[in-house]
């Protein structure tokens, strides 16, 4: 029996078998790498931005697609450890954003109201639902103005001081 194996492994047939195995391994490896590279490429072009504002005693969450790859929102992760689906969020009733969980294309917004602070959202590509990305939610800032409809002292104090005649009191004094 051993001479049969030796004959196969050392003869031309053995050589052909070796070539077939080698080609299959290389092709399989390349295919796996191609699948992985496609996955990463799709993931790299998911460009969602999620922002939260405190609003009417709850949290107003808005998500925009700043890229060109459409995506759907899968989960909203809350600070308390829970997770919501987009359909479980409240409807703020605004016309500029979608509240349904349809896919978001370039520059489209989704918004909803949640009663716990959202900290991250998971979005999945509309082209391949297996490709997902978790992004943090951006928080808010409050800017105050010394009087209604006037520029903020904090934001513009340097440029305004430079433009004002020196004898006028600066807005900083009124604070």
């Amino acid at each position: 029996m051993s001479w049969v194996i030796e004959e196969i492994t050392t003869s031309t047939i053995g050589f052909i078998i070796a070539m077939v195995i080698l080609t299959a391994v290389v092709a399989g490896g390349l295919y796996g790498y191609w699948v992985y590279a496609n996955h990463v490429t799709l993931q790299n072009y998911l460009w969602p931005v999620a922002e939260v504002l405190p609003y009417q005693g709850e949290y107003f969450l808005a998500i925009v697609n700043t890229g060109h790859e459409p995506f759907t929102i899968k989960q909203i992760y809350l600070k308390g450890g829970g997770a919501l689906t987009p359909s479980q969020a409240g409807n703020p009733g605004l016309s500029w954003c979608s509240v349904s969980n349809t896919e978001l294309v370039h520059n489209q917004w989704w918004c909803g109201e949640v009663n716990q602070l959202p900290v991250a959202v998971m979005v999945c590509s509309a082209l391949d639902p297996q490709v997902c990305s978790v992004v943090p939610v951006h928080g808010w800032q409050v800017v105050t103005f010394s009087q209604p409809n006037q520029p903020s002292n904090y934001t513009f104090s340097l440029s305004r001081t430079a433009q004002c005649p020196p004898e006028l009191p600066s807005d900083g004094d009124s604070l």
Partner: protein, 105 residues
């Protein structure tokens, strides 16, 4: 081993080397071709992350603000998008906004 058998083995060895080299070249070219879109997408993502990291709002007054790319908008009493930021105010002394450059809440 007979001289004939030795000659046959040398032939197989030469073909084997040629086949391995051909496979290696195909592998390298295919790996570059497959990797290139992924590498480009990584650069694009880094560029996007960098631009979002500095994206902010500038308020001209409590009811109007400009986003990073020059898009301006009214700040209403309901949340409104201005560029990629969202903002609302009380039409008087304060405004609340969130932008892509803000940190996590």
């Amino acid at each position: 081993m007979s001289p004939k058998a030795r000659a046959r083995n040398r032939g197989i060895s030469a073909v084997f080397t040629a086949a391995i080299m051909a496979l290696a070249i195909i592998l390298i070219i295919a790996a570059i071709a497959v990797s290139w879109p992924m590498i480009k997408s990584t650069f694009d993502k880094n560029y996007w992350s960098g631009s979002m990291g500095t994206y902010n709002l500038k308020f001209t007054n409590s009811t109007y603000a400009y986003a990073q790319n020059g898009v301006g908008g009214q700040v209403g009493t309901n949340p409104t998008p201005i560029g990629y930021c969202i903002a609302y105010g009380n039409n008087s002394t304060n405004a609340t906004y969130s932008c892509p450059s803000n940190t996590e809440p």
